[in-house]
């Protein structure tokens, strides 16, 4: 292996290398003041930002509107964010690969219509109806993935196109008709299961909300402890480098979009339980809501960095602001205003943390 004597070289300018200083460069640290320390800490634990924002906003709203801290209001928040939270999980996967999915809401609605039609109109068992719905969710995601990975179109364009296509399909398939709550209760109550829940000292917690936390935990594990999760990050970070490192970029991208479609299909089941009925024009704002949650949760739109837990927290922050503002007696449009401010602040904070040198 390496010897002390420098190898015989053609030129002699390296001859003094044996006498080279072996000490590691050391610098006086000047990062002991509060702001740089906070910044360093937040850079290492980016999920702390949405967690802190959530904490501060819960405290803030309970001062403004004392009713807010009641368990009733908090369980309303959990109910409100369940569907957006699921879609935000799917969106996180996509955004981690430096993509974006505008069709998630449309996939969700198509899947809920398929499940409802199969179970209520065709009378299939709920389990079969749900499986068919999940299959079509994954299939729609797969189509997005193939267009992004194989045809090499920008994800924004692909999903903008499929958003229109899936929206058209849902109106055609449903003939613009809703499925009423009474019909679902009569012939397929299983579809509503996730809307049920249990009461813990006055707070009603739905199975959907618990499932959201469970799914987030599963995805956290997959993203951080499996090779696939590392590949998703690497592709978002630098797609060419990932390809040269021997990652099958196309297959991974397609699997990410298909998984996102599958999660949206699952969210459809949750959404049926949450709303109680199935309508082709429901959940039109869930696309942007999911992107808002992901961004507030600290995931970078440029890909490669972010966290699943952050996205769930981001969804909760939006929910807390909405519920808190309405309890404080503020008009609805200020909720949108607040969500907009949150997004801009979140991205500004992210940029400030990223700037390594200053």
């Amino acid at each position: 292996m390496s010897t002390d004597k420098p190898t015989k070289t053609i030129s002699d300018y390296e001859a003094t290398l044996t006498k080279a200083d072996t000490a590691v460069a050391a610098f006086e640290r000047d990062d002991r003041s509060f702001i740089p320390m906070l910044r360093g800490y937040l850079r290492n634990y980016p999920t702390m930002i949405p967690a802190l924002v959530l904490l501060v906003s819960v405290i803030g709203f309970s001062i403004i509107a004392p009713r807010f801290l009641g368990v009733g209001a908090l369980s309303i928040v959990l109910k409100q964010v369940t569907v957006t939270g699921f879609v935000a999980l799917a969106q996180t996967l996509i955004i981690l690969t430096a993509g974006i999915d505008l069709s998630v809401g449309a996939i969700l609605v198509v899947c809920s219509l398929i499940m409802g039609n199969m179970a209520v109109v065709s009378g299939l068992p709920v389990a079969i109806a749900v499986l068919i719905g999940l299959f079509f969710g994954a299939l729609m995601g797969f189509v997005n993935g193939v267009l992004v990975a194989k045809v090499k179109l920008p994800p924004f364009i692909v999903t903008l196109g499929t958003l229109s296509i899936f929206n058209a399909l849902k109106l055609w398939y449903s003939q613009s008709e809703s499925i009423r709550n009474v019909d679902i209760e009569k012939s397929a109550p299983g579809l509503l299961w996730f809307g049920n829940g249990f009461n813990v000292s006055g707070a009603s917690i739905s199975y959907g909300g618990i499932t959201l936390i469970l799914l987030a935990a599963v995805l956290w594990y997959v993203l951080n402890h499996t090779a696939w999760g590392r590949h998703v990050h690497a592709i978002g970070d630098d797609q060419d480098a990932a390809m040269l490192s021997g990652i099958n970029v196309n297959r991974t991208l397609i699997s990410v979009y298909a998984a996102a479609g599958l999660i949206c299909g699952f969210a459809a089941w949750i959404a049926i339980g949450r709303v109680g009925s199935i309508s082709p024009i429901a959940f039109e704002t869930v696309n942007l809501g999911s992107i808002t949650a992901v961004v507030i949760g600290g995931t970078s739109l440029f890909g490669g960095r972010g966290s699943i837990i952050g996205s769930v927290l981001g969804a909760f922050i939006v929910g807390v602001f909405n519920t808190g503002l309405s309890l404080a007696g503020v008009d609805d449009y200020w909720q949108m205003f607040a969500a907009g401010c949150l997004v801009i602040i979140a991205v500004a904070l992210d940029q400030w943390l990223r700037r390594a040198s200053q």
Partner: protein, 261 residues
């Protein structure tokens, strides 16, 4: 040293990007246990040749043989599966991932037992230990923390990680594209020693470099690339650096070679 069948042999490689010809019937030979340096002017097609050998580019025409057996790489993962490791000029690393994650990108080790087979959990401790061993074996750099993201490393340290990755996993051929370009004098010296170490393990190396002293110091043979093809192969013992530069820039033609239009 140049006996037996070549480990890696390419014949008549052609590659066109639109109207730009990057390779125009390029040949290449690499024998067991030797270091071949590839030199050539900018735009001569060195990088495309190397990418064809490492699977990153699929040539339009021509054959590549590994151990006398024709191979068709559809991607870098195919070449890696055959034991060909490459350090690219841009290093091909994922800045947000840790050093260990980067070294094992695309070939992660999984935990033994049910955690690995069913839950697909990576064996982080084992991967990190291996990465740390390889890096300290190199002595290339002083990395405090194997969990550090690659983006926090200096350019030289990143290069060190990339070289360590190739040296650790290359079992047949190691390709180094400008491995000392970002390194200081001391670190370049370690890389050159490492190149010799790898050869001592019996693994042949392809070295692309603009640094003539380095090329003439370590190479057993020098492949001069010009205008998308191999102009000639020379031994560093028979020619001087200025001859090599003259050949690769077209200032002079080697004996017995006629330039084709």
């Amino acid at each position: 040293m140049t006996t037996g069948t070549p480990i890696l042999r390419a014949r008549g490689l052609m590659k066109r990007y639109g109207t730009v010809v990057a390779m125009n019937g390029a040949d290449f030979d690499l024998n067991a246990g030797e270091i071949v340096a590839v030199i050539g002017d900018n735009g001569a097609g060195k990088s495309t040749l190397i990418k064809a050998l490492s699977g990153a580019v699929t040539p339009d025409h021509g054959t590549i043989e590994l151990d006398g057996r024709p191979v068709h790489f559809r991607g870098p993962e195919d070449a890696r599966a055959e034991g060909i490791e490459t350090v690219y000029q841009n290093l091909a690393m994922s800045p947000a991932l840790s050093i260990a994650d980067n070294m094992f990108l695309g070939r992660e080790w999984r935990k033994p037992g049910i955690m690995g087979s069913v839950f697909r959990q990576m064996d982080r401790p084992r991967m990190e230990k291996f990465a740390r061993d390889k890096l300290s074996e190199l002595g290339l750099m002083t990395i405090q923390n194997i969990h550090q993201a690659v983006e926090t490393l200096s350019g030289g340290q990143r290069q060190g990680v990339a070289v360590a990755r190739a040296a650790a996993f290359g079992s047949k051929v190691v390709i180094l594209d400008e491995p000392t370009a970002a390194l200081g004098v001391k670190e370049s010296r370690r890389v050159l020693e490492l190149i010799r170490d790898v050869r001592a393990r019996g693994i042949p190396i392809i070295l692309i470099s603009h640094n003539m002293p380095h090329v003439f110091e370590v190479a057993d043979r020098i492949h001069i690339h010009r205008l998308g093809r191999r102009l000639c192969e020379i031994s560093p013992k028979d020619y001087s650096m200025s001859d090599a530069v003259a050949f690769m820039t077209g200032a002079k033609l080697p004996e017995g070679v006629t330039e084709q239009a």
